[in-house]
Symmetry: none
Subunit: 199 residues, 4 copies
Amino acid sequence: MEKGIRQPVQRRSIDKKERIIKAAYELFSTDGYYSTVTSDIAKAAGVSTGIVYGYFKDKRDILFYVIKIYVKEIASPIMEYISSLSAPVSIESMMRDVVELTEKMHKQNANLHNILHSLAFTESDINEEFLRLEDHVTISASKKLRELGCNADHLEEKVHLAMNLIQSYAHESIYDKHDYIDYDAMKENVIQTLVLWFK
Amino acid sequence: MEKGIRQPVQRRSIDKKERIIKAAYELFSTDGYYSTVTSDIAKAAGVSTGIVYGYFKDKRDILFYVIKIYVKEIASPIMEYISSLSAPVSIESMMRDVVELTEKMHKQNANLHNILHSLAFTESDINEEFLRLEDHVTISASKKLRELGCNADHLEEKVHLAMNLIQSYAHESIYDKHDYIDYDAMKENVIQTLVLWFK
Amino acid sequence: MEKGIRQPVQRRSIDKKERIIKAAYELFSTDGYYSTVTSDIAKAAGVSTGIVYGYFKDKRDILFYVIKIYVKEIASPIMEYISSLSAPVSIESMMRDVVELTEKMHKQNANLHNILHSLAFTESDINEEFLRLEDHVTISASKKLRELGCNADHLEEKVHLAMNLIQSYAHESIYDKHDYIDYDAMKENVIQTLVLWFK
Amino acid sequence: MEKGIRQPVQRRSIDKKERIIKAAYELFSTDGYYSTVTSDIAKAAGVSTGIVYGYFKDKRDILFYVIKIYVKEIASPIMEYISSLSAPVSIESMMRDVVELTEKMHKQNANLHNILHSLAFTESDINEEFLRLEDHVTISASKKLRELGCNADHLEEKVHLAMNLIQSYAHESIYDKHDYIDYDAMKENVIQTLVLWFK
DNA sequence: AATGAATGAGCCTTCATTCAT
DNA sequence: TATGAATGAAGGCTCATTCAT
């Protein structure tokens, strides 16, 4: 354990630490990491500036916790959905559900998603957190697909690519910046491609 | 023209402005935008701190030029390749070429790519630059595909998605972080999917 | 209240804010506003550079407080003297007192007086502060003079002019730069003129 | 002579030096000394930045020349008027002329007047230039008054004070900031006071 | 004599982090 | 544990002055 960093054991302290993370989560989402100042996080969390350093090593440490929360919030619903599945299941409706769930999750966290991913490139430990998440999703989803009777070759590769494709679509549909694009048609194309890969 | 911003007309000045952009390009790639300080850009370019502000309005203005260069460097080879095509052409070999070209381009600019895209989320004018690029590529590529005889429906949507898919693959293959992934198989999967979309 | 500007409520903080103003007062007097750098103000006040911006919005804000103090220091003794007067009073001894009080006040603040007045010409809000002071003195003094039985015509105009004349004399006598001038005789001339105006 | 400072002997060079002084004169008047940047002076004078340092030691040196010009412009008309006088002359109309001439001169140079006087307090050589002017005016005017038959005592003191009084009035009347002041009445009061002093 | 690009010291201000209470 | 005032290093930017041409 880091020197001097408090390990909150009491109820109130846990609340406080979580409040700080939540406040940071919100501010990072809105303003980005670099434009958010520590004292504003403290203020938003309703604590003093100083105590932030009682719970976190430094500003980056807060970011690290924010990412953990983010990862959990984003991944959990999808992981739970996947876990809940049992044969027989229509691949198409399953893929449609996953796409729509991802879309929904991204809609709620669009800014943070991008801010965090961008930080991942200069901050290697943040990157590792994301890689862990990707691994976890890929392995779990592949296993489940096999359980459900999918016997496509190169399954892990396809699942990985599927994650990317779904996220790309979600991203595009959320920002909705190109007026010549029919996002519903795009979504159908994504789903049909996934069906093809995993049928 | 902004007051006081030098418009380089002489050979040496053009060199200098380009040297500053190149230095910023490199430093932004390595350390990110916020962690790069102006005096380091100047030092890396072999000029004084002051003259940087003779060529650029402020630090963000340098970033803007870096993006312009980046966009050109990344997009040009692919755009040129696409322009050069004329029927008859094998869709598969064409897709393979585009995938490999993208992979190559990303290999050279991986970090910057991500840093710039991340900035795009807090800086709207940077975002617009990228949207312009995406529009340009989508429209041009769609047009060319039609010329080559492709009569797939929702072509623009597919091209847009294809850009994303190819970039996702390129990204994954460059970082090569998941040891259970066979990146060659992933690539084949990408190419076959594209063939399916555009055949 | 400006965002982030500390409103000092505790004893120590009030001391600190006043110490900064006092230090600025001194340095502005000696070196002028533009030649005084913020870090020197902080050093002279025995505080860190950063905390200065906890109490003041920016450097000009410090100047503004300095002016307030200056105005109070300069005007108060004279205003108090005038208030204290009640009939019957010898116009001559009253004028003599005012002249000598002004002289004394200016002796202590000669440089700052000039520096502040000079800034007033490029900085309109500073100018307004001085105009307010002039108005206040003119109106109060005129009122008092009438109370004391003075029924000169154009009283406000004369009071205004008197302020200027007294200040001119004070200024001249303090700097004492012309060896052919007998400053005592000059003073008598000022006083006799004032007596003439207000008798 | 200062090392490297050009002593312009040719027609064109004299023009150029004067053009720089004129440009500085204007810019200092408008923006103040500290807010005027050397390159803008050069631009306004239609010369290069570098050549300014061929004619002047530094920025303060330009200021010094500006003051010389200013002093000449301000003082000349009044000095000339005074020289032109010969007995018999009405003291009152003479005083009225001087007041109105001063008023006119100040109207054209109001800003610069203040800017220069303020600088005089931190810059001792500038101050000396003003003292020289005051001495010159005081001595000349006193001499002339005596020639014209004035035998008031403490003449130099009165002339000195008169300069100040007239300037105060001119200043007040130009800025015209106090709506309860009748500036014509103020002017009459000034003139009658002067008549009293010098009759 | 002239140009104007280049220099770099130094300024104001911010903010992550510490520390007295 | 908690506060929030205080610290001070560092960043972006300006501008008087110099210098290669």
